[in-house]
């Protein structure tokens, strides 16, 4: 039992519950009206996408520029399932189908591309996500360029919050296991890692597949909120948006990704009518961060709530 119920897990559970109660309270009290709720849900979806990309980039050191492709798979799977079964069960089923399909496709992609290093891998994943997009564009079932519309709105804040927690638990538990350590060793030094008995190809593939599956969850939740999806939504630009969040927050820092997704969500809201200016700011920020603080906001460190509380306690004791 001590492994499951201890101070650390209790603090996190409490923290998660408080955050949930706070936001849900604001929604119920209509302080967060439907206009702000769109931003809220967008931030939540971006958190899931950024966390999943961070698993690939930050933990395993594999550079993927094709995250939008997996998001698209999840979105289309959910939309098509919801057309037959327009309720929460339909969404869950759609998410499950999306996870399986994107996982399989990620596996197919991983075999040729993960032999490549760094920048080559980036281009290859980018190419693959374009192939996925073009394939969706050319299929009948996906509605071609027009996409799918009238998707029932199933995603609500509680639903998406639960999925953020699931994503976090999956990634944290994976990272803090022998499999996660193996992935980190691949990031640190691939040759040494292989010489220490780590099957590097297997672990690169594993991180890539888990990341892709989680990205498809983000896509599914997206489809079940915004009524309409089309191939244009999931282009290269989307992959870059997610990458920017990960880079801002710090590659390897999950809390960093969450904080960055929230901050960038607000910036996007504030600069809504100046889309070009926002992109110019993003671009300058990327360049400046890479030159002066390539580790991002948090580096590879995590914001530790247990410690935060402890500090307070100590201060109060004084």
């Amino acid at each position: 039992m001590k492994h499951y119920v201890n101070k650390n897990t209790m603090t996190w559970t409490l923290f998660a519950a408080v955050v949930f109660a706070l936001i849900e309270g604001l929604i119920l009290a209509d302080i967060l009206d439907s206009y702000y709720q769109v931003t809220l849900i967008t931030i939540c979806i971006n958190i899931i996408l950024a966390l999943s990309l961070n698993l690939i980039i930050g933990y395993s050191g594999q550079f993927s520029l094709g995250h939008a492709g997996f998001m698209a798979i999840g979105a289309y799977c959910a939309a098509l399932t919801l057309a037959k079964l327009p309720n929460l069960m339909g969404l869950l089923l759609g998410i499950l189908i999306g996870i399986v399909i994107s996982g399989i496709i990620a596996l197919i992609i991983a075999i040729p591309t993960l032999r490549l290093r760094g920048d080559y891998l980036a281009i290859a994943t980018l190419g693959f996500s374009e192939v996925i997009r073009i394939a969706i564009l050319n299929m009948d079932v996906t509605g071609g360029a027009a996409g799918l519309s009238n998707i029932p709105k199933i995603t609500t804040f509680p639903v998406i919050y639960i999925f953020i927690l699931i994503t976090l638990i999956v990634i944290v538990n994976f990272a803090r296991s022998s499999h996660g350590r193996a992935c980190a060793s691949v990031r640190e030094d691939e040759i040494a890692s292989e010489s220490m008995g780590v099957n590097t190809t297997k672990y690169k593939t594993l991180a890539f597949v888990i990341g892709a599956a989680l990205a498809s969850v983000g896509g599914a939740l997206y489809a079940a909120y915004f009524y309409v999806i089309n191939p244009g939504t999931f282009g290269f630009q989307k992959s870059i948006d997610i990458l920017v969040i990960v880079v801002f927050g710090g590659m390897g820092s999950l809390t960093g990704s969450i904080v960055a997704a929230i901050i960038l969500g607000f910036i996007t809201l504030a600069l809504q009518s100046f889309a070009e200016l926002r992109m110019i700011l993003y671009a300058v920020a990327i360049i400046v961060i890479m030159i002066y603080r390539p580790s991002g906001l948090f580096g590879n460190k995590e914001l530790n709530i247990t410690k935060l509380f402890k500090k307070k306690e100590r201060k109060e004791a004084k």
């Binding site: 040729p112 980018l126 190419g127 374009e130 671009a283 360049i287």
Partner: protein, 292 residues
């Protein structure tokens, strides 16, 4: 057969554009191992400079090409000095993300000042068609093929015969050794960016003449395809980029005609995946293994 030859001409015209852009990718990668993601956008800037030179300065086509080449060369050097030079010793991923940032910056600054919409490139040459043995070649195609050939010969001359070309080859083999031999590495890198960017600038103007339209995001897809062309030919290898560009142009055109125009855009990625599977170092590239 005539259809085939006709499409071959069309493919080579398109491929020439890819080849000119691919050269910049391959030269920069060869010398500092950076995928200069912003290279496709320099090609876009070239197109806009050409557009402005023709509409505002009222110059002819060839002066416009020269102006675009010079401006892009300067832009390329400035970008290298500001964004890439501080990252010379950083990881490749860091440099690549920076390059993506530069790419976004060029796109959206252009959009901010020139608008997001598509602009029509002015008609600078009469669209005459030359009929030859059943083939029809437009004057724009001739212009593209001719200019590309000229620029490639010029590039070969610079790389093989001049001092700076020798320095470029030396730095790409071993920058540290080159520095010890008294080569100014920073200046050599600047020249490489200048030459690569000038070629992209020329390609931008040519594509404006060929397709008549330009837009701030016009560089993204051709940039990517040109990069794939460079990988296909063997990145870091100059003749490889020329060959890769022409090959991709022809392949794309042929598939568009003989198979399906919808698949056309996917062809280049399939080529990428195949080459990475079969020979990741590219058709003309050499295999390099990491030293342990």
């Amino acid at each position: 057969m005539t259809l085939f030859l006709q499409q071959l001409v069309n493919g080579l015209s398109l491929g020439s554009i890819f080849a000119l852009v691919a050269l910049g990718y391959t030269m920069v990668y060869g010398i500092i191992k950076l995928i200069n993601f912003a290279h496709g956008d320099i090609y876009m800037v070239g197109a806009y400079i050409g557009y402005m030179a023709i509409t505002s300065l009222k110059v002819g086509l060839f002066p416009a090409i020269i102006i675009a080449m010079i401006t892009c060369a300067v832009l390329g050097v400035v970008i290298e000095k500001i964004a890439y030079k501080p990252l010379r010793n950083a990881s490749r991923i860091t440099s690549l993300i920076t390059a993506i940032g530069v790419s976004l910056l060029l796109e959206y600054v252009m959009m901010y000042f020139m608008g997001a919409g598509v602009r029509t490139f002015p008609d600078v040459m009469d669209k005459t068609k030359i009929e030859f043995a059943g083939l029809s070649i437009t004057s724009a195609q001739l212009l593209i093929l001719g200019t590309t050939l000229l620029l490639m010969l010029l590039l070969q001359f610079i790389v093989k015969k001049t001092k700076i070309g020798k320095a470029m080859r030396a730095v790409s083999v071993d920058a540290d050794a080159a520095r010890l031999m008294g080569i100014n590495v920073d200046r050599t890198i600047s020249y490489t960016f200048a030459i690569g960017s000038a070629l992209a600038g020329a390609a931008g103007v040519l594509v404006g003449v060929y397709y008549n339209t330009i837009s701030p995001l016009m560089g993204v897809t051709p940039g990517l395809k040109a990069f794939i062309a460079a990988v296909f030919g063997g990145i870091g290898v100059i003749p490889g980029a020329m060959f890769g560009g022409l090959f991709i142009g022809v392949a794309e055109t042929m598939v568009g005609v003989y198979w399906s125009s919808l698949i056309k855009d996917a062809v280049v990625y399939i080529i990428l995946i195949l080459i990475l599977l079969i020979k990741p170092s590219g058709i003309l590239g050499k295999n390099v293994k990491e030293k342990v």
